[in-house]
Amino acid sequence: MRDDDPVSSPLPYAEVTDEAYATQAAAGFQPQEFEFAVVLSGRCPRCAHPSTTTLVDEVYRKDVAAPDPGYRTLLCECEAEHPGRPAGLRGCGAYWTLWLEVEA
């Protein structure tokens, strides 16, 4: 079974990345601009399930967060079941990074 094929049996949860994920996501995800946020929708490069990620510039918090590196890290946030996923998390575990460039 290849890791990036849509699968009939549930793909196990695994926190993995690959440079190809970013390339596929950059080509396949559709950005949608809202006030204070950008919503990226597409298929996860690993599990191929529909995934929607909301990117915001600010969030209310009480504890200290890590500094912003400039690029955005996306997680698979599909609704599908992936065995072995820790409680409180979503998706299949795949992650990758993207640059968001605003064109005039």
Binding site: T73, L100, V102
Partner: protein, 170 residues
């Protein structure tokens, strides 16, 4: 228009940061609501303590103040009332949301809708805290004026010749 470009190779630190941010975003509205309820209760208690238990109390009769000072006290109390009501409404809006309905067509995606509501609630919370503190300051100023403003000059005693007085006996 936003264009997507592949980023640098992702690291475990990137993963943890993204997971942390996703968690913050998921629970954001609940945290803002909880903070707003705590601020509402705290500031409400402060005002009740100040007014209800008479921790600050001015003169009961402002007619004894010099001309103009009584009116100033009235303006300060009116401003305090307005600031207090507006602040209370802002705190309630932050803690419990707006009393409005949204057209279904205008609904944003679920996590984004919660984020937008959280941002609006934080703004209301800040405004409410500021207005309640302003209300308290105006109240204290009004009470201070009643105590330290100059008093109305005492009216001059009208002297009249004694009536029916007996001439002094010689």
């Amino acid at each position: 228009m936003i264009r997507l470009r592949p980023g640098p190779p992702a690291t475990v630190a990137d993963l943890h940061r993204a997971q942390q941010l996703a968690g913050l975003l998921r629970g954001e509205l609940e945290r803002v609501r909880a903070a707003a309820v705590a601020w509402r209760n705290g500031l409400g208690g402060l005002l009740v303590a100040l007014v209800g238990f008479s921790l600050i109390r001015g003169r009961t009769d402002v007619t004894t103040l010099a001309a103009g000072w009584g009116a100033l006290v009235g303006v300060l109390l009116l401003a305090a009332l307005a600031a207090g009501v507006a602040g209370a409404l802002a705190l309630l809006r932050a803690a419990h949301g707006r009393l409005t309905v949204t057209p279904v067509a205008a609904l944003p995606p679920v996590p984004l809708g919660d984020h937008l509501e959280a941002v609006a609630a934080v703004r209301s919370l800040r405004m409410g805290v500021g207005l309640v503190l302003l209300c308290t300051a105006l109240l204290v100023a009004a009470v201070g004026v009643t105590w330290y403003a100059p008093a109305r000059p005492a009216t001059a005693a009208v002297s009249s010749p004694a009536v029916g007085s007996l001439p002094s006996a010689r």
